[in-house]
Assembly symmetry: C2
Homo-oligomer: 163 residues x 2
């Protein structure tokens, strides 16, 4: 039995008790969260979210890539969110390599150099500030009054704001 | 009090009971999930995941963009995941507009046409198949034996595999 099959069995249990079938499309809390994909970061649990509350966008590093801007633009322009919460975290895998190393390794193995940056970083707080700055600089994000960035501690379970 | 501040108060409660401070960086279940950012889709709840289990990548539509490929490549190459689960869902916002409409509207409002596709789609199952095909075609994803795609019903809470 694959892990996927095990998780599908969990999904059957979830459906059995399901009572949230009439939630509207726009997020009830008007918030979009952009966070790292890290397995230890439970965005719903950490922020106390429940079904219908918030858009959750996640990628390697919680980076403000063009794709994250695309998602945030759709979130704000079509689905009414107004606040953005950015979450990076301690012990992030993105701190363990450089863009050049990663892309060179892939090139050596596959013969093709990825056309995208890996978005690795060496300073956690500076990267949170970089992420906020990228959002503030984007012409496609209309609501920028509440764009706040945080570092989640995978050791302590705490969120610390980066100012 | 902003919604962000309310969610930060929830995060303080989460930290108070936190007892998962020693989880390793690689996901315990060896799985990466790529899902839509939709607020009604609770990936942890649905799949019965807990802290440390799986990478969770999310964007508007759960689209296999270059950024999703970047995240999946990092997940498999650096952090050992082997299975990929794709989740689209009924009632998706991405079914309600076209790429051209969205980009033209932004161009009219901001003067700048986004350089990225919005990744809107008109057929849910076809888009899941498109997503699987993009992953299978990517030279940067080494493990493709278990790439499975699903439609989550926001009305019923069920997952249905697309074959």
């Amino acid at each position: 039995m694959s892990v996927t099959d095990e998780l599908l069995a969990n999904a059957e249990l979830y459906a059995r008790d399901f009572d949230k079938g009439h939630l509207p499309l726009p997020p009830a809390r008007g918030v979009a969260v952009l966070a790292c994909m890290d397995a230890r970061l439970n965005v719903y649990g950490l922020l106390g979210l429940t079904e219908g509350d918030a858009h959750v966008i996640r990628n390697a590093g919680g980076a403000v890539t063009d794709d994250a801007i695309r998602s945030l633009a759709i979130s704000q322009r079509l689905l009414g969110t107004r606040e953005i919460i950015l979450i990076h975290h301690t012990g992030c895998g993105m701190l363990t390599f450089t863009d050049d190393e990663f892309r060179t390794r892939i090139e050596e193995e596959t013969g093709i150099r990825p056309p995208w940056a890996a978005e690795a970083f060496s300073d956690l707080e500076r990267d949170v500030r970089q992420s906020i700055a990228r959002i503030k600089a984007s012409p496609f994000i209309p609501h920028k009054d509440s764009v706040r960035g945080f570092v989640y501690s995978v050791e302590k379970g705490t969120l610390t704001e980066v100012s």
